[in-house]
């Protein structure tokens, strides 16, 4: 299947396309990355997961549009993202949550990029806080944001009385997370 179809399907909300992309490029990605860097299979797989998550995030936020990534470029895009992430890991830098296609496709630009210490630290704190989120907030926010479930659906899945309860709980979870982040930023000496 052509890559453009994958991206268009993701834009149209066809989540199966994400799984199909995963299966389609996994072997080649791991092969190329392991050839380029002295890393193990597990680490390469972790990079692949992160590269695809970034791809999906860029589609979701409109950074990759219907004609933004030509058919033949998807594999190169995923591999370049993986290489960039590997380089960032090596430099102990955070890869942005979303980024422009042009940027990652120009690998020389990635290699020479300037580092923003504050940006890195804040992003590391955000990623860590999201990863460490406890139940029920973790499940609720994943269902709402990643799986794009309606509050009615979440109420049914998580056995809440109604959608309004979900709205309240979601707001509480977000505020709790923001409060934690503000506190951590302050501890690190940054302005909110």
């Amino acid at each position: 299947m052509a890559a453009k179809d994958y991206i268009n399907r993701l834009i149209d909300g066809d989540r199966r396309a994400f799984d199909e992309i995963y299966r389609a490029y996994k072997s080649v990605f791991i092969g190329v990355i392991r050839k380029a860097y002295p890393i193990g299979a597990e680490q390469a797989l972790d990079l692949y997961h992160r590269a695809l998550a970034a791809l999906y995030n860029n589609v979701r936020t409109g950074r990759i549009g219907r004609d933004g990534l030509p058919d033949e470029k998807l594999q190169a895009y995923i591999i370049n993202t993986g290489k960039w992430m590997s380089l960032n890991d090596y430099r102990k830098r955070q890869t942005p949550l979303t980024f422009d296609t042009d940027y990652v496709m120009r690998y020389d630009a990635v290699v020479d990029e300037e580092s923003d210490f504050e940006k890195n630290e804040k992003l590391a704190v955000i990623r860590s806080a999201v990863k460490e989120m406890k139940m029920p907030c973790s499940k609720l926010l994943y269902l709402a944001i990643y799986y794009e479930k309606s509050h009615e659906e979440i109420a049914s899945i998580m056995h809440y009385s109604n959608a309004r309860t979900v709205t309240t709980q979601r707001s509480r979870c977000t505020q709790k997370l923001i409060g934690f982040l503000r506190k951590r930023f302050k501890e690190l000496g940054y302005e909110y």
């Binding site: 992160r50 999201v130 923001i178």
Partner: protein, 172 residues
């Protein structure tokens, strides 16, 4: 990095989305690995079954050939209804007759009708003959491993039929 409240919300949303996508892919990978493992196990089991059934068929066929090539009358020390049944290829009946003969022989050995030592030796030879005929019946039924076990016991016993048992074992 701009972390004003609105922008921070966007960052949180993007980070949750990223974590959700990674978690989804990790789950997908586990499923793929489980499926692969299941498939590999199924293939290995199927291959083993094919090999074992193939080997089993071959051994059974070899045992039958050896069993039918052996003439039970040739080494016979005494007349027997059992050998007659075996010559007529009535193996099930021959096996029944062996069981009956063993019971009769056990009773006779427990309570001999004569105390003549030669008579006792004859009874023991009869028992040994029954052992050999049982092994030959097993061969003719294709019971390779059972026949081999019985023949080894006869050959190791060094009795009257040990040479026949050894010869049959060599042919297997």
């Amino acid at each position: 990095m701009n972390t004003d409240p609105e922008s921070l919300n966007d960052l949180i949303e993007a980070a949750v989305f990223e974590r959700g996508a990674i978690t989804h892919l990790e789950t997908l990978e586990r499923k793929v690995q489980r499926r692969k493992l299941w498939l590999r196990t199924a293939i290995a089991v199927a291959a083993s079954l094919i090999v074992f059934s193939g080997v089993g068929l071959k051994l059974g066929s070899d045992a039958r050939k050896v069993g039918y090539a052996f003439d039970p009358v040739s080494g016979q020390k005494g007349g027997s209804q059992i050998t007659a049944l075996m010559q007529e290829r009535e193996i099930d009946q021959a096996q029944d007759a062996i069981v009956a003969a063993r019971q009769k022989l056990s009773l006779e050995l427990a309570n001999p009708s004569s105390s003549d030592p030669e008579y006792m030796v004859q009874l023991d030879v009869d028992r040994q003959e029954l052992d050999l005929l049982e092994a030959v019946c097993a061969l003719r039924k294709g019971q390779y491993f059972r026949a081999r076990r019985l023949l080894k016991a006869i050959a190791a016993g060094g009795g009257a039929f040990a040479p026949e048992a050894s010869s049959l074992l060599e042919q297997l």
